[in-house]
Every structure is written in structure tokens, then in C-alpha cells.
Subunit: 366 residues, 3 copies
């Protein structure tokens, strides 16, 4: 082996190590980001971070096992690619958990995780890997996961919430205070700042600069838009809007992050910020009154609607997109997530109910 050959070998390892570095950034988003974003519930912070720990710890090994057995498509050869894909699944699961946060017992979160992962992998297989021969490989443009991660997780969570909301829980106010809000902003900020690594995790080195710039600019757009929308819709700023809707640009840019221009990215970010804030300020209350179901963290507004918007935006932004395959991917994701989520919710309800929602004291020593 010549020294040039060795150099090429090392270079390939170096590229893998860079992927690994992005996997750490994603882990920061999963653990500290999602974990602390959910700490906004005043008396449920310890449960929120513990549930985060457990959901990540259940989902990553499970993804490894199922993937290695080749149940949905071929096993990943690269262990780093597998780790990143498992983290994507964990992200989607954490989004789903946000919908029913505070209304599950700790072991129910874990059962939900065990049931979620195969459903997620089924959808991933159909949409990205030609599962059942439904959608041609490459037909879905979704590098950063607007559709298969965000929309899927949010709608699955809403499916679960259908059965996992009691009348009493629906009437219980979900309170935050200045300290829980500051923790929540910490989670939000950790998500914001590592988001470029999330979208660029599996992107080729040469395309990373453009991809990450797009993600940063989209987030800037949604953050500014959220401020204006929050003040416009509510008179004063609502910190929950800032903590959540500021991230909507990251959610929405996922489908187009490696194709958009900076101007398109900024526009998508602004639209997503407005849409998400509108969701939190207007849709959430109305929907809860209508359905008597609670979406604790408002994942419909942060992940569901902006994810769908971002998925649809791809049709206008991505050159030479296979429109019909892309739309089919969105449709399949909606159907699979809602149906499997609803079924999983029914299963979870068999494991009982909490006495009181949104309090640590039921399961934690004080």
C-alpha cells in the first residue's frame, strides 16, 4: 500500500469522523434540546427530562436491532450512518412524545417508544427505500426530514393523543413559570444552533456549506417572523411562541435545505414562523375546544404544519422534482402516522392512566 493509498483511506475515515461529529450535535438536540424545551411545564420538569433520556435510550438500540435484521430494507453498512438514522427516528419519537407530555406514566413513554420505532421505520422504508414498490427511490425530497421526521412524529403524536387525553386532563391548565420558561428557552436555543448539523448530517461534504447556510437563514427568518406574529396576534410577546415557533424555519427548510437559494430559505423561514405562531396563538385553543384532545407541546404547530408546508414548498423549489412521487410520500406519511399513532394510543390506554396529569410528584421522590 502506497502512502497515497493510505491517505485516501485516512481521508475516508476523516469524512466518517465528521459525520460522527454531526451525530453528536444531533444528540445535543435530542437530549438537551428536546429535553429542556419540554421543561416548560412548571411541575413536570423532572419527568420531561427523564422521559427524554428513556425515549432516546430505548429508540436508538431498537433502531439498530431492527435495521441490522434487515426487516425494512437492507441493513446500513456504515455504523455512523446507522447511528444518524437512529437519531432521526429518536427525534421523531420525541416530537411525538411532546403531544402527550404529562399524560403518560414513565413506562408508558417507553412502551410508546418501542411501538413507535417500527412504525417510523415502516414509513421510512416506504418513502425513502421503495418499500412495497410504492415510491421510486429518490422520489421524495426530504434531506432534513420535514416530512418523514417532523410531520410523521407530530401526526403520530396526535394519533396517540386521541385516546390518551381524559376529560379531566383536557380541563387541567398547563402552567409554566419564569424558571421553567427559561429552561425551555435553553432547550429551544440548543435546537436552533445545532439544527444545521441535523439537516446536513448525511449531506456530502461539498454540499454542506450551502446546506447549513440555508438552514441558518431559514431559522433567522422564522425567529424574526415569530416576534412580529406573536405581538400582532396577542398584543404582547408570548415566550412559548418564541421558544417554539422560532424553530419552525428549521422544520420547514428540511425538504429543501440542499436545494434552496438563500432567498428561498429566508422566505420559507418567514412563512413557517408566521404559520407556526398562528398555530400556537389561534389554532391550538380552537382545536382543543373542538376535539377535547390536548397537544401538550403544540407539536402540530411546530412540527406538523411547518413540516407539511416545507414538504409542499419543495415542489416549487427543487428543480426536476418528481412531483407525483413527492406528493405521494407526503400522503403516505400522513396516513401511516395517523393510523399507527391511533392504534398505538389504544394499546397505551390499556396500561392505565395517571391519577394527576403534569406533575412530577406522582412518580418522583420529592
Amino acid at each position: 500500500m502506497t502512502s497515497a493509498d493510505q491517505a485516501v483511506d485516512t481521508l475516508s475515515s476523516v469524512v466518517d469522523v465528521q459525520k460522527y461529529n454531526r451525530s453528536i450535535h444531533i444528540m445535543a438536540m435530542l437530549i438537551v434540546g428536546f429535553g429542556f424545551l419540554m421543561v416548560f411545564v412548571k411541575k413536570y420538569g423532572l419527568s420531561a427530562v427523564t422521559a427524554t433520556y428513556l425515549l432516546v435510550s430505548v429508540s436508538i438500540p431498537l433502531y439498530f436491532v431492527i435495521n441490522s435484521k434487515g426487516i425494512f430494507g437492507h441493513p446500513q453498512e456504515s455504523v455512523i450512518d446507522k447511528l444518524i438514522l437512529a437519531e432521526f427516528a429518536a427525534a421523531s419519537l420525541l416530537i411525538c412524545a411532546g403531544a402527550v407530555l404529562g399524560r403518560l406514566k414513565m413506562y408508558q413513554y417507553m412502551i410508546m417508544g418501542v411501538l413507535f420505532i417500527p412504525c417510523y421505520m415502516l414509513n421510512e422504508w416506504i418513502v425513502l427505500d421503495n418499500g412495497f414498490g410504492l415510491i421510486p427511490r429518490g422520489g421524495c425530497s426530504d434531506t432534513g426530514g420535514s416530512i418523514i421526521i417532523h410531520t410523521f412524529g407530530a401526526l403520530f403524536g396526535l394519533g396517540v393523543a386521541m385516546t390518551m387525553t381524559t376529560k379531566k386532563e383536557c380541563e387541567t391548565e398547563i402552567e409554566s413559570d419564569a424558571t421553567s420558561d427559561r429552561f425551555s428557552m435553553l432547550g429551544s436555543m440548543v435546537l436552533w444552533l445545532f439544527w444545521p448539523s441535523f439537516c446536513a448530517a448525511l449531506v456530502a461534504p461539498a454540499d454542506i456549506p450551502a446546506t447549513v447556510s440555508n438552514v441558518v437563514i431559514a431559522l433567522c427568518g422564522s425567529t424574526i417572523a415569530t416576534y412580529f406574529a406573536s405581538v400582532a396576534l396577542r398584543k404582547k410577546i408570548c415566550i412559548a411562541d418564541i421558544a417554539n415557533a422560532a424553530l419552525a424555519g428549521g422544520v420547514a427548510i428540511g425538504s429543501t435545505c440542499d436545494h434552496a437559494s438563500l432567498t428561498a430559505a429566508f422566505t420559507i423561514g418567514i412563512l413557517a414562523g408566521v404559520l407556526s405562531t398562528f398555530g400556537f396563538a389561534v389554532i391550538q385553543g380552537k382545536l382543543q375546544d373542538l376535539t377535547k384532545k390536548v397537544d401538550t407541546c403544540g407539536v402540530l404547530n411546530l412540527h406538523g404544519l411547518p413540516g407539511l408546508m416545507g414538504g409542499i414548498a419543495a415542489i416549487f423549489v427543487v428543480k426536476d422534482i418528481n412531483t407525483s412521487a413527492h406528493l405521494k410520500s407526503i400522503l403516505v406519511t400522513i396516513v401511516v402516522s395517523l393510523v399507527t399513532g391511533y392504534i398505538v394510543g389504544i394499546v397505551l390506554s390499556l396500561f392505565g392512566r395517571r391519577t394527576e396529569a403534569y406533575v412530577d410528584s406522582e412518580e418522583f421522590i420529592e
Copy 2:
């Protein structure tokens, strides 16, 4: 294209991805670091982090637009270099915001951001890029931004504070409590630990190990010095000294981070820690009594004085430095920052005044 050519191409992308990684570290400093450092104001934490989000989100796209139009010098070709330079500008803006924290309405922060960026870019152009032919390219030694980022931001902020301090605000005590102090220490620590990436962001790969070691050692020096100076000057430890002055080594090493020996770095760190603590413990109170102007976060003590000290230290540390050009750079930065800051302050005062300073409740839903 041979496989060797491809390897060289990939290698160049890999170097860019490493820059991108440092840009994420800097983003952590901007968003979580500066954001939470400013949360020390007890009842103003939600405003501090929201203002941070907005200042970053306004300044980065604006820097991109102005740079792309080539208004000050030639546009950057590399989008990653551009992102890092935009982050440097955002850092300087956040420093500036620290001076008037709590006394601006949320939209006034954004207006300040919009006005700050061109002023910052004007100075950057003059000092680093031979703007107006004043200073030869390479004449200013400031890889880590002691002068053009820290000193500029601090003095600009003091310029703004000239008009943006009312008598009532000057008499209002700025309170912290144990929780706001712990959040502030979190911000401080995030700044501390990622500081090497800030200073090494645009340094060539081969020079990075020496640069980052210098930064770490300088921070160790200032942290130890801060403890001793705080106890010496105040009898007991003041946590605000620790949260702030411990970082002064990072500020001061900026001008010499890629030239200093480890011993020089440690010395600069110690001196900066002492100077900064002296600023917080002694100068700040006297200056406020004298001028009746408030520097909320004490940016003069953390960024202004240590930045100047670091800039001057370069004359003794950097071999073959062009002393006159370097000193001219410092002088220009002082003049441009104070003058433009003062003008921007006058503009901001036209947009009204807060009813009460340092409280979230004026603009946030409780």
C-alpha cells in the same frame, strides 16, 4: 479526473466542513453563551434570551446581503467564511446590546441591530480590508477579534448608552438572584469552552493546535486571576466577577492567539482577569456615579478594557508587527465605534422609552 484529484477536492471540502463546525461552536456562544450570560437580570431573563434570538436573526442575514452587494470591499467567495464573519459581527452586536440591556424595547434592539451592522462592517473594512486606503492589509493583528469585535462592540454600546439611559433607569438597581446567577454562569461557561473555536475559526488547519492551546491557557489564567482579584477587592467572591471576568482572557488573547507562546498567553490571561475584575469591582460604580449612564452588563470591563489591553499586547508579542498600522487600527476602531454608537443611540431614542426598565412584564405575557 483521477482518484488523487478527487481526493484533493474532497480534502478541500473537508477543511470547509471543519470551518462549518467551528461556526456552530460560535453559534453556541452567540445564542446560549451571550444569551444566558445576560439572564443574570432577575426579572428580565425572557427578554434577554428573546433579544439575543432577534439580534442574531437580524444581523446574520443583513451581513450576508451587505457583503454580497460588495458595499464594503469585495464579497466573500466562500459561504462558510461569510457565515463566520457574519457571526463575528453578531457577537460584536450582542456585546453592544449588553451595555443597554433592559432599557430598550424589543423592536429597538432590532433597529439597533440593523444600524449596527453597517457601522461594524465599515470599521471591519477600514481596519482589515484597506478601506479608504487607510491601513495596509495585514497591518492589524487581530485574528480573534480583541479589537474589531470586542472593543468595537463595547464602545459602540457605551455610545448608545449615552442617550439610552434615563435618570430613573440610572437609579434603578439591577437585581439578580441565585437562579438567574446560575443561568448566567451557564452562559459564561458556554462562552468559555467554545472560545478556542471562536479565535481559531478562520485559522489554517496547521496553526489551529497552537492557537487553541493559547486560548485555553489564557482563559485558565483569567479565571484564576478573577478569583483572587474578586476576593482581594471585595472580601467575598462576587459571582458576577466569576461569570464575566473569567472570560477576559479569551477577549484579550484575540489579537495574539496565533502568535503568542503559552507563557505569554497565560500572562495575558492573568492580566486581563485582574483588569476586568478591577473594572467590575471599582471602575463601574465610579463611572456610573460620574456619568449617570448605565452599562448594564459591564461590557466596558469585560470587552472594552481587556480588548484594548489585548490589542496593545500584540505590539509586544507579535514578531514583525507593523506597530503604526496596528495602533492606527485601534484608534480607528475607538473613534468609529464611539461616534457611530452615539449617533445610533440618538436615533434609537426617537423610538420612545420603556415605562419601566429591567422587567419582562412590560412586553411579555405573564
Copy 3:
């Protein structure tokens, strides 16, 4: 120099920059991770984070000086390798500090740091670098530091605690509250997520993917096991178990992280989680009653026992291990840490005692 030669040069720098990146991740663990994990003590949070700052700032430059003088073995040539080794020493020191947290004055922490580092380096030299010709180079399998970092630090700390616990301190309850617990979970999570970089810090690029996957899977195992063990042993979940024992998989996988299979890693993680939780829930109280000595953070349970377990596990997991050399390494580490720790404790006790333990107010301005 041809362009191919230049590329090989750049590639070598790039590999160093990747090491540097891992050194930043480790710094995040040291400063924010250990720092905030120790904030669980309700009224001692400012001291905990200040002590963390000071311990890191004392130990890293000191390690540099001693290493450069070649007192224990040859000086490191690579400054990045030296930085990472210094960070390992700082990690061990912070573990040690956890044992006596709240019972030392601030300058006593620093004195402890100054005395700890040479003891640590002595052990490091004997175990890894054939010091005194006792153990053949490569005889100890401990890439991620289960033995030389975790076990050493914990036992050294227990040695110090022998003298640094008064009767009154033993009877003082160490209180936490919901806010200090949430900060502690933040520290825990930062440790968890960057742990793969800790273990892989000095691993060759080609072996990094397998190493980091093992660490992640081991942490998943200990996290799940901790939940079940905590509920089984205490009826309800204890958040201190989650914050601490969830990390035991990272501690225990250190000796085998670059050799284990994923299944072995998961098993080691589960066992470590159970062992650690058992330590916190059962052993800690009994041992304190028996010895009248306090281990504030329970470092025996998180670092001591899981570190030993991980060290012993290597005998079953690492192919072609030199069992006798490996066991000798463990034995030497136990003896050196306990003896030097005990002596350092005696020295520290000469510098006086706190009036009241576990409160910031004794040393901080309120």
C-alpha cells in the same frame, strides 16, 4: 513540494483539528457537565460552578508544565494530545472534588488541584507509560479511562473525604430542590451526549465509528437500567439516580470501548446502571453510617464501582488482553489513589474548616 505532498500534510493537520474538536467536547463535559451536575446542592450552586472553573483552570496549565518538563515520562510532542491528556486529568480531579463538594473552602479546592495533578500523573505514568518498569506498555486496556480516570478520581476523593468530613458535616442533610435538580440534569445530559468524544478522543480515525457506537449503546443500557433499578429499589424514581447512574454506562465502557461488540457494550451498560443505582440507593447510606464520612456526590457509586466493573470487564471482552498486567494496573490505581488521596486530605485539613457546609453564603456576596 508537490501538491500531493501538500495534501498529505493538510490531511495530517485535519486529523489534528478533529482531535481538537473532541477536546472541545470534553471541555463541555468538564465545565458545563461536571459543573452543573454538582449544582444539585440547593444552596451551593454558585460554589459548585466556581469550583469547577477553578479546578479546570488550575489543572490544565499545571499538567502542561509538568508534562513539558518530562517529570513523568517523555513530554508529549503534539500539543493537542497534551491538551486532551490534561483534560482527562481535569476530569479525574472534578470527580475527586465531587466526593468532598461543599466541605472545602474555595482556595482549598485549588490546593487540592495542585496536589492532585502530580499524583494522577504518577499513576498515569506507572500504568500507561511503564513508569518504574512495573507494567509493560499497552498492558492496561483503558482507552476511555474507566480505571485511570474514573476509578482513580473517585478513590482519591474518598481518600480526601477521610479527613475532610467533620461530625457536624456528616449530620447535615444535603438538600436539593426542583430547580437545582433541573440544573443537575442539564449537567448530566451534557456529560451523556459528549461522552462518545471523551472515549474516542485519542482513538485513530478508522476506529472511531465503532468506538462511539459502543459508548452510545452502553449509555442507553445504563439509562434504561437506572430507571428500572431506581423504581425497584425505592418504589418511586429518584432524580439523583437518573442524573448520575444513567451515566454509569459511559464510565464502565471506558476500558473496552474500542474492543467491545454492540451487544457487549449494551450488557456492560445495563450492569453498570444497576450497580450504580444500587450504590446510590443502598450502599451510600450504609457506608456513611458506618464510616461517618460523606461522599457528597456519590462518586463511589458513579465512578468508583462502575469504573472498577468496567476495568474487570475488559478481561472478558478484550481479545489477547495481558490479564496480569491489566489487573496489576487496577491494583496500582487503587493503591496510589487511596494513599495519595488520604495524604492530600491531611494536608488540606491543615488549611482550616468551613464554618458551615453546603452553603454559598459563607464565601459569596449575596
